[in-house]
């Protein structure tokens, strides 16, 4: 490789490779474990009554950060059950826009299933997008146990 070829490699290919590996490495981080405990204090009206059927987290329970973007993206969401009861239903909705780029959709509760569903869309880097979780279907007919699921958020370039 002569001197000209080396210069071509350094001045053209290397920056391109660098750009392709750095600028397009989209990333999502989620924070928001929600451990919920249900006991006698959750009875609707004390002794003789059933349990409240619905429980909501704080509106800022989940915080999502999208970075390394190069334009528009979509966030999908699903859950994977570890131990679950068929009466229980878990929901999520977006409650905040974060800062920076733009975010839209996802502000109405949607039930989480075991397959990816579109949650919300946006563009550019956006930190601090908040979300809220809701559990429904609770009653005394759900046997005492610890029911767990992992919630997956996937960001996709679009």
């Amino acid at each position: 490789m002569n001197h000209v070829a080396k210069q071509a490699f350094l001045s053209f290919l290397f920056p391109l490779l660098l750009i392709s590996n750095v600028a397009w490495s989209i990333d999502i981080t989620s924070v928001g474990n929600w451990p919920l405990t249900i006991g006698e204090n959750d009875l609707i009206n004390g002794a003789g009554s059933d349990l409240n059927s619905t429980y909501e987290s704080t509106t800022y329970q989940v915080s999502l950060t999208i970075s390394g973007t190069s334009g528009s993206w979509r966030v999908d969401v699903r859950k994977v059950n570890t131990n679950w009861h068929s009466d229980l239903h878990l929901w999520v909705r977006r409650t905040g826009d974060g800062s920076g780029g733009s975010v839209s959709n996802g502000s109405v509760y949607q039930e989480l299933t075991d397959t990816d569903q579109p949650f919300f869309t946006g563009s550019d880097d956006v930190p601090g997008i908040t979300a809220q979780l809701k559990l429904s279907g609770m009653s005394i007919q759900v046997p005492p146990d610890t029911y767990t699921a992992t919630i997956y958020y996937t960001v996709v370039d679009i």
Binding site: A5, T37, L43, A47, P144, D157
Partner: protein, 183 residues
């Protein structure tokens, strides 16, 4: 030189193409811990039970009953099979020569009543047994198991022992109900 540039460009475009389709995922957990529950509540206390003189001379005073109080409960069972409710006198004493009995009428699927009323004393006795996971409801005077109290004079024998029945005494009795695992 041209070959080198072309090859380099292809590699770069390939790398670019692969990277542009990128996605990324992250997770957090959710867990709900449902505890076992066993809570009960008594609605109204029964009214005053007053023994009055019999209508006919020679007869014993008729027992007096009250069925206005209810016991309401919520049970969420874990590893236990069933629960039971026991009752006892926890405070106060009955007038000498008198007996206080109690029975409960639980609805279907909210436990099994004792066959006969239990005679209340300081010792806890089973009142409702085999209670499954249930919630009786909380509406006053309709939901739950109705409690029937009956105060009577112990059988008079026509002996000196009869004189131990003390008239004109007024005692306040506290009844304690306990939810326990089925023995």
């Amino acid at each position: 030189m041209r070959k080198l540039l072309l090859a380099s460009l292809m590699v770069a475009v390939l790398a670019f193409g692969v990277a542009a389709a990128t996605t990324d995922s992250d997770t957090h957990s959710f867990s709900v811990d449902i505890e076992e529950m066993a809570v009960l509540d008594c609605t109204d206390a029964p009214g005053t039970l007053s023994l009055t003189q019999p209508a006919a001379g020679g007869a014993e005073p008729a027992p007096v009953t009250d069925a206005t109080a209810y016991i309401q409960y919520t049970i969420v069972l874990g590893s236990e099979i069933t629960k039971e409710i026991q009752a006892r006198i926890s405070d106060g004493t009955l007038p000498v020569g008198c007996t206080l009995t109690l029975s409960a009428n639980a609805a279907l699927y909210e436990g099994t009543d004792t066959v006969e009323p239990i005679t209340l004393s300081g010792t806890a006795l089973d009142l409702i047994t085999l209670i499954p996971t249930c919630a009786t409801g909380t509406v006053a005077d309709t939901d739950g198991a109705v409690l029937t109290y009956s105060l009577s004079v112990e059988a008079l024998t026509g002996t000196a022992a009869d004189s131990t029945v003390v008239k004109n005494t007024s005692n306040q009795i506290t009844i304690e109900f306990t939810l326990a695992d089925t023995a």
